[in-house]
Each structure stands twice: as C-alpha cells, then as structure tokens.
Point group: C2
Chain length 388, copies 2
C-alpha cells in the first residue's frame, strides 16, 4: 500500500527538532519548566494596531475572497514601503500578497522551476526552502559555506558550481540558522552573476527589519530581475496570520497571477486588512522598540555562549538566531541537544536540521524568549556542560 | 527571457470568466448595474457567531502558529461533525486543517501523485482541480459525462479508462458546474472499483451541506481508504477566511503531516479559532435557514431558465449552480456570455471554463444573488434572447 505514496515525500526530511519538541511536551506534561530556545517564532504578541485593524475588518462582516494577487490597497502599501525604506520604485503589479512566505515560495518556484532543474543554496540553510524545490521535482545543490563569507554564497562559488541544469540561486539574508547578512557588494555580484548566466535569483528576505547595527540590502536594489520573498511574520509580528508577499520579475507577472488564482484563490482577507496597519507609524514605533530588545537579547546570548566555550565565528547581525559551534563539548550535536533537554529542560535545534556541513558540531539557539528566561537557560547550560 | 518560465505554466489555462469579470468591472465603472451570476461565492456574510469567535481570538492577542495539522480542538470538532452528520468515526489524526480546500488539494496530491501519473475526472469539472494535477507534473484524463449519470463518473467508465499510468479518480459531489450529486450506490461502486485497482480515490465534498431535498453521501461512508477534501467556505460561509480540511487514509498521515509542515507551516490561527464556532447550534440554525433560501433560489432560477427555453437535463440538487444548455440560442456560449454582458449587464460563466465536452453549448448560472436580483436578470435575459 505504501507504493501509493508520492516519491517526492521520501526526499523530504522530517525536522529533527520535532523529536525534541515532542519530548519537551512530555516533560512539560510532567511539570518540568522547559525553556524554549528552539522556536523560530518571537514571543511578542502581534502589535495592537494590527490586531485592531483585523478586528475592525471582522466587524464589518465582509470577509469575502480578495483578488488572487491580494488587496490592491495592501499591494500599494508594500510598494510604498519599498519607496520609504529602500528608496525603490516597485510596480504594484509585481507584488503578490501570499499566505505567508510559504505561499510566496510556492508561487516563485511554481512559475519558474522545471523538474530536474537545480537551485544552489548555502549549507547551512532553512530546510523548507529546499523542500519546496523537491515539491516541484527540482533538485537542490547545497554548497558548504563558512564564516569567511558570513555563511553566504559568493559570486565565485556560484560560477564554480553552475551547471547546465542549474536554474538559479537562493540567498537568504539575514540567514536562518546563522543570523548573518550578505554584504551589499557580495549580493550585487551574486545577482549580476546569476543574471549573466540567464538564471533566476531568489532572495529570501523574511528576516528583513530584524537587523542590528546595520541595514540589510534588498536584492531589488541591484536588479529588478529577481524574486523577492518576504513576510509579515517576523519583523511585523504576524506569524499566525499567515500573510507574506512575493515580488516577481515583470516577465513572470501573468504566470504568477494565474498560478495564485489556481492554488490559493486568495490570502485570508482579514489578515490582509490587518496587515494594512503594519506600516502605520504607531506600529513601526513598537516594532523598532522590539528590534532593540532583540538586539539586547542577541548581545546577552552571544556573550554568554562565548563565555561558556561555544565558538561563534561571526557575530550574527540579524534574525533571532545564533548558530554556535559546540565541538568543544560534543561530536554529536543532536545527542547534545537531546541530553540537554533531558537533563536541564532547555530546548535547542540541532545543526542537522540545516544541512550536513559541520552539522554535527553546530546547534542553533533562538533568542525568541526574554533575557530573564535566557539567563536561567544559560545557568542550566553551564551546569550541563560542567557536569558533562 | 520567457524561457525561464516553468513549462507547467503553459498547461494551466486562464479562467475565461476573468475576461468577463474584467469587462463587468469596466461597465460598472461606467455606472452600469451588472448582475453577477458568474461568481462562486455566496452573497451571505459569515455567520455572526463565527465572526464573534474570530474577534474573541484576536482580542487575546495570541495569534501564534498552530500545529501544522491544525488546532487539536478543531480537528476534534470536525471528527465530531462526521459522527453527528454521517454517523462515522474518523480518527482525529486523519484530519488536517488546511488553508481552504485549495490547501487540501495541494496536500492530497502532493503526498500521492507522481509525475506522469493520471487522474480521471469528469468533463465538465472545476478547472482548478486539474491544475493542481499539473502543478505536480501529473496528467488529467477527462471523461465526457452527461445527464444519464448525473454528470458523474461511473464505476464502468472508470474501469474502461483505467490504464497503467492511472493513479486515481476525483469525483466532486455536488459538482461544480452542474450542481448534481452522485447517487450513494454509484459512489460506493466507484470507490470499490478504484480500491480494487489499487488507486487513490479523491472526493471533493466542498459543497456538502448545500444540498436540497436529499442528503449527500460522503466517500467515507463506503471506505476509509479515500481522500476527502472539504471546506468552511461554502456551506459555512467562510470564503475569505481560507480554511478547509482534508481527511487522508491512514497510510498517508505521516507524509501529509510532513508536507503540511513544509509548505504551509500552518493555517491562519484566528480563522481556525473562528471555525470552532462553525458547528455551534446557533450557527447551524442560521446555515440551515440559508440552505432553504438557496433551495428557493434554485427553484426560481430553474423554472425561469426552462421557461426561457434553456435545457436543463437534470435538476441540480446541490451547490449553487445551474449548468444550462443554450444550444437553442447559440453555438458559441462564450460569445453568448460576452454579448449578454455587453447588452444587458448580466454576467455568467461560459462552458469552456469547465471542459470541452459540449462546452460551446453550456453556460453556468450561479444563484449566489437574491431572488430579487435574479428576477431582474431573468427579465434582461429574456429581452436579450428575444432580440437575438
């Protein structure tokens, strides 16, 4: 009977962290106080201005389908956001509102990737991204990256790995799991290289806004011949609302519209109306306050992990992750994570969820919880290490 | 440059009705009163009980990701609904909450369909369904159906068309565009046939609940080895909320969970909380009132279309569509629809959006507007026909 399962499913790995989460829930059911540093979801609630906008829309009673590409007003606001934040003019027609960044990936790859074509991605990278490629019968070629490139692909390594079946390149900046950014010149060189090779460039910018002490460049600064995936989930604090956006090169507009009509009908109406408030001045003030809190959390965690003997070759500049080297303590980071959870009720994500390159020596800490909670986690971690 | 477009996009036809919609909007901008009978979305607002539940959830501020398979409480309520409405015990683990029926189709085909495999569907049928098949590099073999089978596939025709590359069969009951139901025995025979052939059976039940004068059978009454796609959009009046569900055979549970985690993360949180109220007694009372209103609309439209000379071989028993034969008036139903819109500002959907079999002689009327509005539409239609 299992012969009826689609073959693509075999190629999609489960998240190893799920095993940890499952065990964490068992421990919590036993009354243990588990500190969650494995979760890629901020602890902050959605800003009140956004919630209020969502409530106002619900109270109108009119929660009908919107156009497949999204509410015209929201596409307009996203265009204005690029004008204000990056000084860029993006045509409203290139902007598609999607059910989260997940929906944006589905559309971007659905309109561009043929079976057998390959995308280049960094190892480590976020595992879902390559699973979208598998969904469309494409292949991912992951390229090991290290601290010297900020864990990002370079133009040189793109050229070096480009083959006839290569369709394009995905770069995520800030990166999950490393929290590192690609330098503006490196991003520009990567894009120009892919354009010169006639490929597609996909820029995962879902952690834009959550950047500390510098700015993140959008791929659109260097070319309008790029796919940009973004989301209201992370910076804007709208995880559960499931609303994101995709910007496509002009030649893909008609295809993207057609695919969106067919595979989504539309994104949740009230989530889109709520997102209209995401760019309000009051909202941005609150989001910037949170950004500073994330920066403080990063500093706290960074210094304490270094103090305990973890190695962190590049101080992460964005997202809410630190990808630490735990080689001093273990050659099996998955076991390390399982043992830490069992002994001290601190949950973290093992490197193997993000690739194979040095994965056995790496773990990801998410600073999606308060400094107070992280201080307890650090105490527990210290005790665990000293005992081990 | 267009060489970068994925080939699958070429195979996905646009909706012809979009051309009509576009023209309708132009006419409305000129001040014309267009009567919309082309739209597959009820005019009723979401029931107040559901809106209230959505508002309550938003006001908690906790709009975080839910588990990929959906809120446990909602899965439980869906299971209870099958117990109450159909007398069936469905394991909660088999039920996945999805972003609309669209999400349910993505999961169902994503976990089961390999490139090159074929699904059998009726012609006419809802066009998105075969576009999901194309998304996964599968093929659709449409089988012309007529009034004698209620526009539904039969076990005999399934056997007759089954080939080595056939993966399974999709049956939609009530059907879009015909509004017809498959008889319980015919559904049972079709399922047993597919099971005996080792294939997958997909049952599109998104119009369940909107059935007049009889009951619709769920595929689950005859086998638990079926995929059932359903939605809160139509009967429950939750179109814009984008929430539906999928029930999978046990062997597909793990794969579906894995795929949902990767391609959705989760369905909108507040839409799920709102849907918790969909099964409340107060809600059902209101939905049943609407169902009777739909039944009255169907009767009104059915009698008037017959009076004007349209042929309707089977009186539709469900959904909110009448698929009428307009051969007496035209050999080009698309032109008929365009001309009717231009001359009398009544919008309907041409047969070619649903297949090729007799499509040039067919048009779909949606009774998603009030009897008062439909009465005006009928007057206009009568004038148009008499003039023509």
């Amino acid at each position: 009977m299992s012969g009826r399962l689609a073959e693509r499913i075999q190629g999609i790995s489960p998240f190893y962290v799920m095993e940890l989460l499952h065990r964490a829930r068992q421990l919590e059911a036993q009354g243990k106080d588990v500190i969650h540093m494995e979760i890629g979801e901020p602890d902050f609630a959605t800003p009140q201005t956004i919630i209020d906008a969502g409530v106002r829309q619900l109270l109108t009673g009119e929660i009908k389908y919107t156009p497949a590409a999204g509410l015209a007003e929201l596409r307009q606001k996203i265009a204005r956001f690029y004008q204000q934040r990056y000084g860029l003019s993006i045509a409203k027609e290139q902007i598609f509102v999607t059910p989260g960044a997940s929906g944006a990936f589905l559309l971007a790859l659905g309109v561009s990737l043929n079976p057998g074509e390959t995308l280049l991605m960094a190892d480590p990278c976020y595992p879902c991204n390559s699973n979208f490629v598998k969904l469309f019968e494409g292949k991912t070629e992951t390229i090991p990256v290290d601290a010297d490139s900020g864990y990002q692909l370079t133009a040189d390594c793109i050229k070096q790995h480009w083959k006839p079946a290569t369709k394009g390149v995905l770069i995520a900046s800030p990166s999950n799991p490393t929290g590192t950014l690609i330098a503006p010149e490196a991003l520009q060189q990567a894009i120009l290289t892919v354009n010169a090779l006639g490929g597609c460039f996909y820029s995962d910018e879902i952690y834009h806004g959550l950047v500390y002490g510098q700015n993140a460049s959008t791929a659109l600064e260097f070319s309008d011949n790029v796919f940009v995936i973004n989301s209201f989930s992370k910076y804007f604090g709208m995880t559960g609302w499931r609303v994101g956006w995709l910007i496509v090169p002009e030649e893909f507009i008609a295809a993207t519209e057609k695919l969106a009509q067919n595979i989504f009908i539309a994104t949740s109406t009230h989530s889109q109306y709520a997102a209209l408030a995401a760019f309000d001045e009051d909202t941005i003030v609150e989001l910037e306050r949170r950004r500073l809190e994330f920066a403080a959390r990063r500093d706290f965690l960074y210094h304490n992990l270094l103090r305990l003997g973890f190695e962190i070759a590049v101080k992460p500049q964005g997202a809410f992750y630190i990808y630490a080297d735990c080689a001093r303590f273990t050659d099996d980071s998955f076991k390390f994570a399982l043992d830490l959870l069992e002994a001290e009720a601190v949950a973290i994500t093992p490197g193997r969820d993000f690739g194979v390159h040095e994965a056995h020596h790496r773990i990801r800490f998410a600073y999606t919880t308060s400094i107070g909670r992280m201080a307890i986690a650090i105490e527990r971690l210290e005790r665990f290490i000293n005992r081990g």
